[in-house]
Structures are given as structure tokens and as C-alpha cells.
């Protein structure tokens, strides 16, 4: 009888302990964002005095270092355009490879898999060169291009979804005289709501999460050009950290809220994506 009570308690205690370990930094982020002390508080975990000031300053008192509303806007615009282009690319490639049959299909898909496995970080200096030579460094248009140009390679998940749409539907439409373009826009797209949501969210999130390319391309040092990631990173510069650390935390919290919300929606598709692709090949 004792054993029956103790075992589940231990099980849940272990889980609680793990959860605490995982949440400590997040709690620290939240707590510091409300701290009245502007630097890093190294003697206490929780601040002595709580205040909303950091949030107010982020929006009210923009200076040459902290331009949070501006960064938010920049990132938002980049994300919107990236999202539109990427989603179109992904859906188009997925339709071509899933619903159409042409000679170059298999070779194209193989090349796609191989290229898709090379991480983007690898070609970043060369991408930087290319952008520089056409004068697109320090431009948001350049950022959109970098984020969305290669997005067609991420078509596998959408393709897996299109594969599950019954062929008979498309064939029926063909008999009625519909062209491929009509089938794509009038039949397949309306049926693929979930996968569109997934693609839209994941491509919308990438500019918010990205740090490397933004740092490399937006290197002019003009703070109004930056994205949120670069701006917040810059607040931690050795000479700035003692006055901006709590504001960095406030900014971090503000960015994290919308991202977490989107992430939770996307999460269930994410699992399907990773495991689904591996079986189909």
C-alpha cells in the first residue's frame, strides 16, 4: 500500500525538479525585466524593487542604442514578405513534385534533398559577397531575398501532405476539363489548410529567430536598420550592458510572447514533419 503512494509521488517530484531546472532562466528573464536596477543584478536572483519602467522605456524613450519599436517594425516587415514568398515557393514546388509527373522530377528531388542538407551557415560568406556586389547589404530587401530565395528546398513536408490528397479528386477535375493551374488553385490549395498554416508560421518565424545572417548583412552600425535580434544583442555590448541589461530582458520577453504563441500552434505539425519526411524519402 505504501509503495503505491510513494512511487507516483517520486515520479512527479522528479518531473517537478526537471521543470524547475528548465524554467529557471525563463523565470530569471521575467524577473529581471521588471527590475528597477538596470544592470545585471549579481547578488540577488529576484530584484529588490519591481517596476514597469523597462517596458515603458523600450517604447517611450528610444535612443540611439534602443530603438525597439523600430526594430520590431523592421523585423515584422521582413517576416511578412519572407512569409509570402516562402509560402508560395514551398506550395508550388510541393505541387509540382507531388501532383505532376515529368521527366526531371526524380533528379530534381534528389538534388533538392542534397542541397537542403547543407546548412545555410556554410554559404553565408559567399551570400554576403553576392549581396555586396549587387549593393543589397544593409537593406531589408536583401534580407528578404536571403530568407526566402532558398525556401523552395523546404518543400518535403508540404509534399507529404499533398500526397495524401486523393488522386481521384484531381482526375475528376481533369475529366471536367480543368487545367493543372486550376486544379492547383481551386482544388489542392483549399484542401491544404493545415499545411499552409504550418508553412506560413514557420517561414514567418525564421526572421525573428535568425541571428547570423542579420548580423552579417546589417553591419552598418546604424541602429534604425536593425532587426530585433541584432538590436537586443547590441544592448549587451560591454559598454552598454550596465545600463541596458534589464531593458534587454524586457525586449526579450516582448519578442518571446508572440513567438511562443505561434510556436505552440506550429508544434504539432513540427513533429509530423520531422518523422513523416523520413519514412517517405
Amino acid at each position: 500500500m505504501m509503495k503505491k503512494v510513494v512511487k507516483p509521488v517520486i515520479r512527479h517530484l522528479v518531473l517537478a525538479l526537471l521543470a524547475v531546472i528548465w524554467l529557471i532562466p525563463i523565470v530569471w528573464l521575467l524577473a529581471t525585466s521588471f527590475s528597477s536596477y538596470q544592470g545585471i543584478n549579481i547578488s540577488h536572483f529576484f530584484p529588490e524593487k519591481f517596476t514597469f519602467n523597462n517596458y515603458l522605456m523600450l517604447f517611450g524613450a528610444a535612443d540611439t542604442v534602443a530603438q525597439f519599436p523600430r526594430w520590431f517594425m523592421n523585423t515584422f516587415l521582413i517576416a511578412i514578405f519572407t512569409c509570402i514568398i516562402s509560402t508560395c515557393f514551398v506550395l508550388m514546388v510541393a505541387y509540382a513534385t507531388s501532383c505532376m509527373r515529368f521527366k526531371a522530377r526524380k533528379p530534381l528531388m534528389n538534388v533538392g534533398i542534397i542541397l537542403g542538407m547543407f546548412p545555410g551557415v556554410l554559404s553565408m560568406i559567399a551570400v554576403y559577397f553576392v549581396l555586396k556586389s549587387i549593393g543589397l547589404t544593409n537593406s531589408h530587401f536583401g534580407m528578404v531575398l536571403v530568407y526566402s530565395a532558398g525556401s523552395g528546398l523546404g518543400y518535403l513536408i508540404a509534399k507529404g501532405f499533398f500526397d495524401t490528397i486523393p488522386v481521384s479528386l484531381r482526375e475528376a477535375a481533369k475529366l471536367e476539363g480543368a487545367s493543372e493551374a486550376t486544379i492547383f488553385t481551386k482544388i489542392v490549395i483549399p484542401l491544404s489548410g493545415p499545411i499552409i498554416v504550418y508553412t506560413v508560421i514557420s517561414s514567418f518565424l525564421s526572421p525573428w529567430m535568425d541571428f547570423v545572417y542579420a548580423k552579417l548583412i546589417l553591419n552598418s552600425g546604424i541602429s534604425t536598420d536593425w532587426t530585433v535580434a541584432i538590436g537586443l544583442y547590441n544592448m549587451l555590448d560591454r559598454s552598454l550592458i550596465n545600463t541596458y541589461f534589464s531593458r534587454f530582458c524586457a525586449g526579450g520577453v516582448l519578442v518571446s510572447i508572440p513567438i511562443s504563441a505561434l510556436f505552440v500552434i506550429m508544434q504539432k505539425f513540427y513533429v509530423e514533419g520531422v518523422t513523416g519526411g523520413s519514412v517517405k524519402g
Binding site: I42, A96, G252, V264
Partner: protein, 475 residues
């Protein structure tokens, strides 16, 4: 492989046949690409093809040939700026820009190859049109051809832009990067002020030499060893950690599973540049963790048993070699396990229940079930993604850069001379060589090395992914 050679052979045979057997119009297409279409009365297409040809020739004359002719030397005319007293302005000579020559050289070569393909395909197509006309088969009008782009040839329409994007932003950069590795493009050879040129395999030799002036060999050895150690530990700790956590949470004995899962997922929903930067200050030399550790006596204890150097007074979590390596892997567990937990949860739910049931009836213990059913199944489903993750970790820029940049200072002079650190991966080293040292040539060489490593692992993963119908093998 053989079939590819055969196919290419076939294409050239068809091309030859078209030239030999084609009528005057077809033969004229060798010079004016649109001519063959005129022969069968397709004026619109004739104009279109001729325009394509004209644009290409124009491009070659104005841009292609001038750049390509300097491609062998990457330019010879040095940038010079002379002050003109009459106009009171600086006048710049007509200098060569080495990088532009390299870039446009590569682009021109790609365009030439593409044009040749179109040219040959055009000849073959024109000849088939002629044959069709002779046999009296109807030839598509231009309008019909256009319409087919939205029907049976719709794939061309929808693939054009995505493929173009990949070519410009993935393939061209890769070629450029490989090319730069064979030049002396660095801080002392920065266009437009000065020229750079081809230097053969000198940079690759530098990468493996260690001498009084060059320490790349020494650094390269250290960095690549750590890259692999890191990739191995980062992949496997998070993989098994994630599976264990998923098993633990999904166990029917666990209450409110959804709550637990959400708690862990919250940590990955925060963008890495926020969470990792935060953790970096959390574990700083004068950070909050160190304060607490010294208050409760952990620092003294660690000093006593020799893990912390005498007289340091703090635990160098992210600032001394051994500690930083250990902490980076630990923090990566914190970042990576929830991801794996999500994936593993999805996979575990799909394990056929009858397998488990029958094993239980046969008297298998839960450990035996885990070892003989759960793990093989997990490995089968997530095996290929394990290799992808390994590659991803070799290139895991974020974790290393965000945790150690500005914080970790190397004391090893040999490493510092080639601007590497003990905790650098190949990619972070490459990044800092580029953005801080402007040493593009060595960065490109390292890029090539990473490229080769990735290629090897990619091919392994690729062969597994396309190995055919292995779906049955587990059942």
C-alpha cells in the same frame, strides 16, 4: 552513372542528326535560332528565340567577354586615385575589381552552359517540328504553347522561380566560396583598393602548416577535434535525453501530461538569441550562479578538489577550456532535449500497441521492452534525421557563438594568432575570420572543409533515405 553517360550521348547524336538531316530552315537555326520556327510558320516563337539569342550575344559582348577575359588573372589594373587640380576632384582610373571579375566570371560560365543547353535543345526541337510538318501532324500554335504552360507543362511555370532562387542564393555562392579558397583574398587584398589573384592550393597548405608565422595547422587540428566531439555529444545526449523524457511524461502513471509537456516546450519557444545570451550572463564569472555558489561553499569545495584553480575565487563556467566545453554541452541539453521530446512523443504514439501487449504477455520486463521494441523502432523512424542532426550540430553556430562570443578569451597564443579559440567550431571560426579579420581566403578554405564533411555525411543519410522500401523491414 552509365545511363547518364548514355543519355548525354543520345542528346548529342540527336543534335548531330538534326543538323545533318534538317532542311535549310533547320540548318539556318544554327546561326539564327528562330529560323526553324519560321520554316513551319511559327512567327511568334521565331521572334522569341531570336530575341533570347540576341540578348545572350549582347550580354556576352558587353559583360561576359570583358570579365571572362580577365578571369585568368582576376584583374591587372590597380586602383589609383589622382587629385585633379583643374576640376578640384579626385579622379579614379579605370581599375579592375577582382571580386566582380570572379563573380561575373562564374555567372557568365553558368550562363554559357545554360545557353548551350537551350541551343542544343532548340536544334533538336526544330528538327522534330520539321518532321511533324512533313508527316502532316498538326503543330501547336504559339497560343497553345503558352496555354500548355498552365496545363501539362505547368511544372515549368511553378518551378522556375524557386529553382532560380536556389541557383542564385545557394549554388552560385557555393561555387564562389570554393573559388575564393584558391585566391589570396584577405585584409591586404581588398577590392576595390587592391587586387587579389589566384594562388593555387597555397591556402590549403597553410591550413595544415604550423610554423612561427602560420599557426593554422595547430588551430585547425584543435578546432576540428572539438567540432566532432561536440557534434557527437550534442546529438546523442539530446537524442536519448529526449526519448527518456518523452517516455517519462507519456507514461500512463504520469498525471497532467499536457502541463508537463508545455512547461518544457516554453523554453524552446523563447528565441535562442534571448535564452542563450541570458544563460551566458547567468553563468558569467561575476554572475548570479557564481555568487550563489560561493555563498553556499561550492566554489571553495571545487577549489579544494582541484577543479577550480587556486586563487581564482569564482568558477570559470564559460571562460576556461575544460569548464566551457562541459558547460556548452550541458546548456545544449537544456536547449535540445525539449525538441527531441516533442519528436519522440510523436513517434512513440505510433508504436503498434499489439507489439507491446504481446511482449508483456510473454513476460518481458519494461526495460526489455524499451531495449528490444521501443529503441529499435525509434532508431528506425528517426535514424535518417539523426544524421541530419549530426550535420546540423557540426554547423551549430548559435549555441557556440552566443554562449562564448565576448566572454571566452583564449590564453593559447598559437590559437590566438589564427584567431581561433578552444571552444570554436569550424563554422564559428569561419564566421569570425570573415567578420572580424576579413580573412576571406582562409574562411573559404575552412568552408570547403566543412562542405566536404557535410557532403560525406549527407551522402550517407541520403543513401539511407532513398534506399527504397525499407518500410517493411521493421514489421
Amino acid at each position: 552513372m552509365k545511363s547518364v553517360v548514355k543519355k548525354i550521348g543520345n542528346i548529342f547524336r540527336n543534335f548531330g542528326e538534326s543538323v545533318a538531316k534538317g532542311n535549310l530552315w533547320v540548318k539556318l537555326s544554327l546561326i539564327i535560332m528562330g529560323a526553324g520556327y519560321l520554316g513551319v510558320g511559327q512567327v511568334a516563337k521565331a521572334v522569341l528565340m531570336t530575341v533570347v539569342e540576341a540578348v545572350f550575344v549582347l550580354y556576352m559582348l558587353l559583360v561576359g567577354v570583358p570579365y571572362l577575359s580577365k578571369f585568368g588573372t582576376l584583374g591587372t589594373v590597380q586602383y589609383e586615385s589622382i587629385f585633379n587640380f583643374q576640376t578640384m576632384k579626385n579622379e579614379v582610373n579605370n581599375y579592375d575589381h577582382s571580386f566582380m571579375i570572379l563573380l561575373f566570371g562564374v555567372i557568365t560560365i553558368i550562363l554559357i552552359v545554360a545557353f548551350l543547353c537551350i541551343y542544343i535543345a532548340n536544334m533538336i526541337y526544330v528538327y522534330t517540328l520539321q518532321k511533324r510538318k512533313e508527316q502532316g501532324i498538326a503543330i501547336n500554335s504559339f497560343k497553345k504553347d503558352l496555354r500548355s504552360l498552365f496545363n501539362e507543362r505547368f511544372h515549368i511555370t511553378i518551378l522556375a522561380l524557386p529553382v532560380l532562387g536556389v541557383v542564385i542564393f545557394t549554388i552560385v555562392p557555393l561555387i564562389i566560396m570554393i573559388a575564393v579558397a584558391f585566391t589570396n583574398y584577405d585584409q591586404n587584398h581588398m577590392p576595390p583598393a587592391s587586387l587579389f589573384t589566384w594562388t593555387g592550393v597555397d591556402n590549403f597548405k597553410d591550413l595544415i602548416t604550423t610554423s612561427t608565422t602560420i599557426t593554422f595547422g595547430y588551430s585547425f587540428g584543435k578546432v576540428i577535434v572539438w567540432t566532432f566531439v561536440w557534434a557527437f555529444f550534442a546529438t546523442f545526449t539530446t537524442y536519448f535525453g529526449g526519448i527518456l523524457m518523452a517516455k517519462f511524461i507519456n507514461n500512463p502513471k504520469t498525471k497532467v501530461q499536457k502541463l508537463w509537456r508545455t512547461l518544457f516546450v516554453v523554453t524552446i519557444a523563447v528565441p535562442q538569441f534571448v535564452s542563450l545570451l541570458l544563460v551566458r550572463y547567468f553563468f558569467a564569472n561575476t554572475g548570479i550562479v557564481n555568487t550563489i555558489c560561493s555563498q553556499i561553499g561550492v566554489t571553495d569545495f571545487l577549489t579544494k578538489i582541484g577543479l577550480v584553480r587556486e586563487g581564482l575565487g569564482y568558477i570559470p563556467f564559460l571562460s576556461s577550456p575544460g569548464w566551457a566545453h562541459f558547460m556548452i554541452i550541458m546548456i545544449n541539453i537544456w536547449v535540445g532535449v525539449p525538441y527531441q521530446m516533442l519528436i519522440a512523443t510523436g513517434v512513440l504514439m505510433n508504436i503498434p500497441n499489439d507489439l507491446m501487449e504481446s511482449a508483456k504477455i510473454d513476460g518481458a520486463s519494461s526495460f526489455q521492452i524499451f531495449k528490444s521494441i521501443t529503441m529499435p523502432y525509434m532508431l528506425f523512424v528517426t535514424g535518417p534525421s539523426l544524421i541530419t542532426q549530426f550535420i546540423g550540430n557540426i554547423n551549430n553556430f548559435n549555441v557556440i557563438y552566443l554562449l562564448t562570443q565576448d566572454v571566452y578569451k583564449t590564453t593559447d597564443q598559437l590559437l590566438a594568432n589564427s584567431s581561433a579559440k578552444e571552444v570554436d567550431l569550424l563554422v564559428t571560426w569561419l564566421f569570425r575570420l570573415t567578420s572580424e579579420q576579413y580573412n576571406y581566403k582562409m574562411a573559404s578554405v575552412i568552408g570547403c572543409v566543412v562542405f566536404v564533411i557535410c557532403a560525406i555525411f549527407t551522402l550517407i543519410a541520403f543513401r539511407r533515405m532513398t534506399a527504397g522500401d525499407k518500410e517493411e523491414s521493421f514489421q
